[in-house]
Symmetry: C2
Subunit: 228 residues, 2 copies
Amino acid sequence: MQGTARTPSPSETAYTPTDRTVPTRSPDRASYDRDLVHAILDEAYVCHLGFVRDGAPVVLPTLYARVGETLYVHGSTGSRPLRAAGQADPGLPVCLTVTHVDGLVLARSAFHHSINYRSVVVHGVARDVTDPEEKRRALDALVDHVVQGRSADSRPANKKELAATAVLRLDLDEVSAKLRTGGVNDEPEDLALPHWAGVVPVRKTYGTPVPDPDLSADTALPDYLQGR
Amino acid sequence: MQGTARTPSPSETAYTPTDRTVPTRSPDRASYDRDLVHAILDEAYVCHLGFVRDGAPVVLPTLYARVGETLYVHGSTGSRPLRAAGQADPGLPVCLTVTHVDGLVLARSAFHHSINYRSVVVHGVARDVTDPEEKRRALDALVDHVVQGRSADSRPANKKELAATAVLRLDLDEVSAKLRTGGVNDEPEDLALPHWAGVVPVRKTYGTPVPDPDLSADTALPDYLQGR
């Protein structure tokens, strides 16, 4: 599979559940729908990447991008997980998790307090990308995943920068989404209690872009940042 | 340490770095300052909890709360990590990570694109909370960590709900913060390139609270939600 991102046949509308992607709790909140998983992944750009070092878990935040059925993460060639993946055969077992918080659910009972969220959990083996063309495409995707259109409006990485950057690929095979939506689920006998109940929406917002002090005054804010 | 949250002596203003809390990359972005770590932890309420199952990493989003030098997470007594922690002696090795995204850093070069962020990584052993008083305090803290003052304005958990809920504690001993702040770090020879460069601020915002349809019309929005 090295060299190109995996493309599923159009008939595959869902990921196949496995023992570790079927949750023990609230299985009704789990989904394997490919479009839903893609939408959750495409709306974020920071994931939490877990791996095992000396038998103990490590979880680090890092940028990622999706290209078809492949996720890419990158980092310095000197970073521990990237080095480990490059040295391991066939790669580094990882769990990559992405979470959006959509709301605070305040129930009348403390027990039924909850969070509206959408998350994706990907299990698999991360492999070092060695093909130069795939690596370059992955790096473009990492920039564009944060700001669509940006990679074409920046100086591409030179040889030295490419050599200093390691890219890992993780195919979307063992994948699940989990989400909670909707309102409060109080017990019927609690409905008359005097406590306020409802949902407080939460979302990510962008402030006014702050230009670099060295930017020449005639460099306009690009279209892809308008409305951020 | 069971029964009470750990309280450090006032002289301990920083956590002691260990082999796994000193990053291999960008060590200048790491901090062990206790107040900074607390501030990062107190501003979020969803963490990513990593543990090892059958030799492979698992990373799940979950709520947490801080009480002094102790973090608490909770879940159903039927959930896999909670069950594993209850059965393991002395507990479940975990890595708990909290991340805030503060800005998108757009450099003139693709290579220097970055994210402004603040994160905390906690390594340790999560232990099942068995003391009923500590468990109740932890559950109150979990509600109040999301909305300060809310636990006093909701029906407390009853015996059945308490029995269905497992709480894990994780002491803040092996802890580090890592953060990037500030502007663009382009190479001097790139400064004249025609690409826009700067920082797009990112933050979490709250929408207007949506009352539960069953809420009686005379239940006012509580003070602790005003301004959310």
